[in-house]
């Protein structure tokens, strides 16, 4: 079977400001970021879709002891997008020292930013970002 939306195609989308995911023709769930099969029903009848970029922050942490190659502090978080999928990314536009429990449940906008490549990642790539939405 063919891989409907590869990591490279997903990355090209992010580059152009598009948040590409997959819509399942079986159960209607949206899979974002992409994988081979529907994240809910494992169905393979999928169409490429663009997600709207709104979500709700579900949890977070401030990384203060980073892996080699990263500069701390920075915020890693998970959000549930309005289409239902969960995604991991960096909460940006906030001072990491101001990150506290009140973030959980806040509305976020989803975007992307470039992370420098290292020995193992085959060059630069884009990761999902969250910014707090105006209430």
């Amino acid at each position: 079977m063919d891989y409907k939306l590869t990591y490279d195609q997903y990355q090209e989308g992010l580059e152009q400001g598009k948040l590409l995911g997959l819509k399942c023709n079986g159960c209607a769930a949206v899979t974002f970021p992409p994988k081979s099969l529907c994240r809910e029903c494992n169905g393979s009848d999928l169409n490429v879709t663009e997600i709207k970029g709104h979500g709700t922050l579900r949890t977070f942490t401030v990384i203060r002891v980073p892996p080699k190659g990263f500069t701390s502090p920075y915020v890693v978080a998970m959000a549930e997008i309005d289409e239902g999928a969960w995604v991991m990314g960096n909460l940006v536009d906030i001072n990491p020292d101001d990150a506290d429990m009140s973030l959980i449940g806040k509305k976020v906008r989803i975007g992307s930013q470039i992370v420098k490549g290292d020995t193992y990642s085959g060059g630069d790539s884009r990761v999902v970002t969250f910014t707090l939405a105006e209430e």
Binding site: F60, T61, I63, V76, W86
Partner: protein, 391 residues
């Protein structure tokens, strides 16, 4: 399936070691074989755990070299296992499955790790290679970060103020350091108090240094044998009553990470096979890589309802002499966590407890013990229930 037993068990002292991965494994492996009243030539296979030898020593394909260190016969295949922190438990489970199936009668299994050789930045980087490379490692996730996110979610979901949760998490570290103070093989053998934890540097909010297990060097090995053969060679074999193993995908697909679904499935398999339940367990070695991890595990086992295990250590229910003794070895927190060896060290502790050989940290009258090891960001969990009598 034939009944399977554990014969000899051995571990090196955990901590910072000048020895190579192979030297450490030889020490543990040869002691486990000798303790079994067997010889290296009696081993029919080696199931060998190691995660990061490539980065620690520039050494891939370590299993055949471990085979040579132990002096095993050419007929005994040596195979490397890698399941992140659950590596050695998965190796032991597969040894037991093949012995149970009648393929082999005697297998040696275990693992070795020399994480300290990498230093903290590279160790943090290589451990983080167990996250999904594209979607989780690139935003800079770390292992403390995974459990930090779980702790924040736990506080929010169950309405326990973070400050209160953190004080109770600190009590988990205090308990495991207390237990570790009685274990001459432990990485850390000194007691701490709640303030030691709450005054530590922040690693990943809300986890501070003493919420986290250390990077450690060490090795451990166990001899797995068919029960009849085991009785021939050992006065006190310990029997495998049930085992389980289950897998989850990357963290972002798991959504509610206050629930470790892989563990809930794995421990259910082990209970089912053993015909036992949570009330039957006398002693547990569980995967307390972070203080919050012990709380999540106690709930997954069915020892506590979800959202209710956070103050178990504070109430001393999980201390030696408590309702159920949890991590009498000191756990990963105090005993240390050489990731490729950890599961075999957990099995070693439970086997010694069931043989009543644990000295000052002996759990009185322990007959049934549970081993619990988690690999990656909840991607792998493996459980083994051991007991001192045949079924």
């Amino acid at each position: 399936m034939r009944q399977v037993a554990i014969l000899g068990v051995a571990m090196t002292k955990f901590g910072v070691s000048e020895k190579t991965n192979l030297e450490m494994f030889a020490e543990a492996g040869l002691e486990a074989i000798a303790q079994s009243n067997l010889e290296p030539k009696d081993m029919e296979a080696l199931y060998f755990g190691n995660c990061l030898g490539d980065f620690e020593e520039g050494q891939m394909h370590m299993a055949p070299f471990a085979h040579a260190e132990l002096g095993l016969p050419i007929s005994a295949p040596a195979t490397r296992f890698e399941s992140a922190c659950a590596t050695a438990t998965v190796a032991i489970r597969h040894a037991a499955l093949l012995v149970g199936a009648g393929i082999y009668d005697v297998v040696i299994a275990g693992g070795t790790e020399r994480a300290c050789a990498m230093g903290t930045p590279l160790a943090t980087k290589t451990f983080a290679m167990a996250h999904h490379a594209q979607y989780e490692s690139r935003p800079g996730l770390t292992f403390p970060g995974v459990f930090a996110m779980a702790a924040h979610m736990y506080s929010d979901k169950y309405g326990i103020p973070l400050k209160e949760l953190k004080r109770n998490m600190a009590e988990v570290a205090v308990k495991n350091h207390y237990h570790g103070s009685m274990n001459p093989k432990a990485h850390f053998q000194k007691e701490i108090d709640v303030n030691t934890v709450l005054d530590g540097i922040m690693v990943a909010d809300p986890l501070q240094l003493f919420d986290c297990c250390p990077f450690s060097d060490g090795a451990a090995a166990v001899v797995v044998a068919e029960a009849g053969k085991a009785k021939e060679f050992s006065k006190k074999p310990v029997y495998i009553a049930g085992m389980g193993q289950a897998s989850c995908g990357p963290l972002y697909l798991q959504k509610d990470i206050t629930r470790v679904r892989s563990r809930e499935e794995s421990v259910a398999q082990a209970y089912r096979e053993a015909g036992l339940g949570p009330d039957d367990i006398d002693v547990v070695e569980l995967h307390d890589c972070f203080t919050i991890a012990e709380i999540l595990a106690l709930e997954s086992f069915g020892f506590y309802e979800f959202g209710k295990a956070y103050d178990a250590a504070t109430k001393r229910e999980t201390y030696l002499g408590g309702k159920v003794a949890v991590n009498p070895s000191g756990g990963l927190k105090a005993k240390g966590h050489p990731i490729g060896a950890t599961g075999a060290a957990q099995v070693t502790e439970i086997v010694e407890q069931l043989r009543e050989e644990s000295g000052p940290r002996q759990v009185e009258g322990a007959r049934v013990g549970l081993v619990d090891t988690l690999g990656g960001d909840f991607g792998t969990v493996c459980n083994i229930i051991l007991r001192s009598e045949t079924s």
